[in-house]
């Protein structure tokens, strides 16, 4: 009996982990018909998708680079949603972070690079936090719904960025060009976030894995932003479930009335949730800037810089069960879809619209499959708990 239960337990868990994957496969199966409709071969298409996301070291690196802002925005979303606020302002907060990073970087380009990089990242966090904090203050003290204010603040940030990049922040080289490109100067290369490929190769060496593919990672674009994001995911996990601040954020999120009765300063924690959430989105912007883009450009609006990570990070967080650690695989999955999707377009020359629709399908199927996971886990808890209570009853009965 005692041996039996844990086994079925594990089996159940494993199946749960695979359910979303089944959902993805089902979505791709249906998407296959769409690909057929566009006169392409679904098998080729999906091979390309896989290749593009994981097929080569470069692909894996691209996927991880793509996942980085998703993860950072996502862990922020975990905080805000747990705190009972819906932060749809990731796009604007990322832009605020990116602007702060580029401003600090350009201002101090002569100083010690490490210090400046840290200052840029801190600055981007602060800028995102302040931008998110606006929505927080509006909600806590003026009763302005945050869904509304964050959607509006995204647009305001975008227009603000477009203005700054076209005027105050414009690259002096562009200023007098006949057709000026609205972009800032590129940050000096010394301020690029260090690539971590070399370190990874060393690690491969150390583990004796490098025989076949020595120095494969060194040439990839993988920068240490992903490491920062992983570490921060753990930090946020600790924050939410191991600290008093996290406890209060969650309490306010679940029941502000009872929290107020219990002596928690609800308004302050509402603002804090949005600030932290905005801060992580801002940091995503900062890391995107130092690690990938190195300059701001107003052409193409917000998405050119954020790659929609401000929204997609929400999806990643919700996929990850609003759990910072769950958000890690979720953002990698999502990053893989985006990177692989682009490869799919290149390889079989289908319109990009098909990939957009396909990702939409995947999202819908995965969330819709969630109900089966929930029901199964509830049943499992039922079994486990009744075992536990039966045991407890025995213990009580025995003396």
């Amino acid at each position: 009996m005692q041996l039996n239960l844990p086994r079925s337990f594990h089996l159940g868990r494993t199946l749960d982990a695979f359910l979303p994957l089944f959902a993805v496969l089902l979505a791709l199966f249906i998407g296959g018909f769409m690909i057929l409709l566009m006169d392409a071969n679904p098998l080729d298409a999906y091979r390309a998708l896989w290749e593009g996301a994981f097929g080569t070291k470069n692909a894996v690196a691209d996927t991880l680079v793509k996942a980085t802002p998703l993860l950072l925005v996502g862990i922020g979303i975990c905080i805000s949603f747990r705190g009972g606020v819906v932060n749809i302002g990731g796009e604007g907060q990322m832009i605020a972070g990116g602007l702060a990073a580029v401003a600090i970087g350009l201002q101090y380009k002569e100083s010690d690079p490490t210090t400046v990089i840290i200052a840029c990242l801190v600055g981007s966090f602060v800028a995102g936090a302040l931008w998110g904090g606006i929505a927080g203050v509006l909600k806590a003290y003026f009763n302005v719904n945050e869904i509304l204010s964050t959607i509006m603040l995204n647009q305001i940030a975008t227009f603000g960025m477009m203005y700054l990049v076209r005027s105050e922040f414009i690259d002096p080289r562009q200023k007098n060009a006949a057709a000026p490109i609205p972009e800032t100067e590129r940050l000096p290369r010394s301020l690029d976030l260090p690539r971590i490929g070399g370190t990874l190769d060393d690690l491969y060496d150390f583990l004796g894995l490098s025989a076949a593919d020595a120095n494969q990672w060194a040439t990839t674009l993988l920068h240490n932003g992903i490491v920062i994001a992983f570490v921060l995911a753990i930090v946020v996990y600790v924050l939410l479930w191991r600290t008093t601040v996290g406890y209060r954020i969650r309490a306010v999120g679940k029941n502000p009335r009872a929290s107020r009765y219990a002596g928690i300063k609800v308004e302050q924690y509402t603002v804090l949730s949005l600030m932290l959430s905005g801060g992580f989105a801002g940091l995503a912007g900062g890391i995107q800037l130092l690690g990938v883009r190195h300059r701001m450009n107003a052409e193409g609006g917000a998405i050119a810089f954020t790659g929609n990570a401000g929204f997609n990070g929400i999806v990643a967080a919700l996929f990850g069960g609003l759990h910072p650690l769950g958000t890690i695989p979720a953002s990698i999955l999502f990053g893989a879809l985006l990177v692989g999707g682009n490869k799919l377009q290149r390889s079989v020359q289908v319109p990009s619209a098909l990939i957009t629709a396909l990702i939409g399908l995947v999202i819908v199927f995965v969330v819709a499959s969630d109900i089966f996971v929930r029901h199964r886990s509830r049943r499992r808890v039922a079994v486990a708990v009744s075992e536990a209570s039966a045991e407890a009853a025995e213990v009580r009965a025995s003396p």
């Binding site: 191991r242 600290t243 008093t244 601040v245 406890y247 969650r250 309490a251 679940k254 029941n255 009335r257 009872a258 929290s259 107020r260 009765y261 219990a262 002596g263 928690i264 300063k265 509830r378 049943r379 808890v381 039922a382 708990v385 009744s386 536990a388 209570s389």
Partner: protein, 523 residues
């Protein structure tokens, strides 16, 4: 159904009656709990069958099965001998079964008439016929003595009135069998009397009633038969005529229960809480408090008696910093604390057991342990700087769960799957265990079974012995008379008098609760 036999008399509402409802061998399992274990239960037209049991015994679950909200794992239900399956509340309503839930099933933003009309076929479908509904409500209200204004939004109603709306809803739907799950828990004694008048009227008209309550005197007063459950098991069914409070208590708890307390005389100390000339507005913007003066001393329980809705809630909220006072001040241990936040007051040793424990006292999605730590999580040893200390918390929670006998599978169980009474106990455990300097306890034993009531009373007295100044807000005069050193009576936002318990007389208190000043009563 169409072949109306002679003995199938109609009820005054025009619906057919249910002569006999029988549940046989009902079993219901929840994650981790066998909530109902092979229980038989029946009720006949023209009787009140009471259902008794400790918190978590399975009463509500059994009744929710009858009303189609839960599906039994095993067992059968018979109506007038015919086996029926009740898949949903609409099935139950179609069979003539109505239910008044332990937690009200009303939509607060809608009016009384809209709440009643909900789910009914309109005479002018697809348009609403609220005027027709209102007229019929008034008619029913007259027949059964249930006064309520159909046009009022429910959120503006006092609890007693909401109770009436629930009954009206059931009557309107022609409930031949009405389940009342702890209908009296939130009512004043006067309101209970009114309700009983209504219930007796219904019984004599041929309704079948199932009545759940933790108050044994009510059960003895209204029912013809009593069935007792314990831990989901059927303990027995006895005719009320053969039962006593003590025998019922023994059936429920499995041991003797003290039904009276010995309150040791004790010298009250320094005044710890003073309320001076406090005025405050209600949620509706009217003046709820009109110059309240009170003083509670160390080692004293001050009972605040009064009919609900006379400013008790507002007073508690002003003292606890949840509602601004327009004038006046609150003084704690000689220090003015008017307008301080609950956070600061917590630190100064004030503790508050809110009346609406489901919404104000607990976080439904949090676990038992998390709910128990709502105030103390920031203190040592439960946390160091910002990090929580799970081990200390687990130990603390285990202790609280044990000493207050909270029935929960684990500490990690979400509190929403606990029975109503156990949630109440949890809040009390949390607030009392902090050994507060000043305790405001609003309706501390509402909805709690007799074993737990006994325990809570004992804890309040222990706390008193340790020097806590307690403001006990209760509509239950018996409770106040049993525990309080002095009794203040509140009426329409004013204290109409304060009497020592020794001098208190039930009749005089009753008059004061109706607004007659102490001087007038005395004189």
């Amino acid at each position: 159904m169409a072949m109306s036999t002679a003995d199938h008399k109609l009820l005054p509402t025009g619906h057919e009656r249910i002569d006999h409802m029988e549940m046989r061998g009902i079993v219901k399992r929840f994650p981790g709990v066998l909530a109902v274990d092979h229980v038989d239960f029946d009720v006949r037209a023209g009787e009140v069958h009471a259902l008794l049991g400790e918190n978590g015994a399975g009463k509500s679950t059994l009744m929710k099965i009858l009303y189609g909200l839960y599906h039994p794992n095993e067992g059968e239900i018979f109506l007038d001998g015919e086996r029926v399956t009740i898949k949903s509340p609409s099935d139950a309503i179609a069979w003539g079964i109505g239910m008044i839930h332990q937690h009200f099933m009303l939509v607060p933003s809608l009016t009384v008439a809209e709440n009643v009309a909900l789910g009914l076929k309109s005479t002018r479908a697809p348009l609403l016929d609220l005027d027709v509904v209102s007229a019929r409500i008034k008619e029913l209200a007259k027949t059964y003595g249930l006064q309520v204004d159909p046009a009022m939004p429910v959120w503006q109603l006092a609890v007693g009135e909401r109770q009436r709306v629930e009954i009206l809803k059931a009557l309107y739907r022609g409930a031949a069998l009405l389940i009342l799950d702890e209908p009296t828990a939130v009512l004043t004694p006067q309101e209970v009397d009114d309700l009983f008048v209504t219930l007796r009227q219904m019984v004599s008209d041929g309704h079948a009633l199932i009545f759940i309550s933790h108050k044994l005197h009510e059960v003895l007063a209204i029912s013809q038969r009593v069935t007792v459950l314990r831990d989901g098991h059927f303990v027995g069914t006895v005719p009320t005529a053969e039962a006593t409070k003590a025998s019922l208590a023994r059936m429920m708890v499995g041991r003797e229960v003290l039904l009276t307390y010995e309150v040791r005389a004790q010298q009250a100390g320094e005044p710890r809480l003073r309320v001076e000339g406090v005025r405050a507005a209600s949620d509706r913007g009217t003046e709820a408090l009109r110059g309240i003066n009170l003083e509670v001393r160390a080692g004293e329980i001050l009972g605040l008696a009064g009919v609900s809705g006379n400013g008790q809630r507002e007073l508690a909220e002003v003292i606890f910093g949840l509602r601004p006072a327009t004038t006046g001040q609150v003084v704690l241990d000689g220090q003015e604390v008017t307008g301080k936040s609950p956070c600061d007051l917590n630190k100064l040793g004030m503790s508050y057991i809110p009346e609406e424990r489901m919404t104000d006292g607990v976080i439904r999605d949090f676990t038992v342990a998390e709910n128990l730590m709502l105030q103390e999580h920031g203190l040592r040893p439960y946390s160091y700087s910002i990090f929580m200390n799970p081990r200390a918390i687990t130990r603390r929670c285990a202790e609280l769960i044990r000493s207050f006998n909270i029935r929960t599978p684990t500490q990690e169980t979400p509190i929403k799957s606990l029975s109503g009474g156990n949630i109440q106990k949890l809040v009390l455990a949390r607030e009392l265990a902090r050994e507060p300097a000043v305790l405001i306890a609003a309706q501390p034993t509402r909805g709690v079974d007799i074993g737990a009531t006994e325990y809570i009373h004992q804890r309040l007295l222990d706390q008193r012995a340790k020097g806590t100044a307690t403001l006990l807000i209760s509509e239950d005069l018996d409770e106040i008379l049993a525990l309080a050193d002095r009794i203040a009576v509140i009426y329409e936002g004013e204290i109409v008098g304060v009497v020592d318990r020794a001098e208190a007389q039930v009749e005089a208190l009753g008059l004061m609760m109706a607004g007659v000043h102490r001087e007038a009563v005395a004189g």
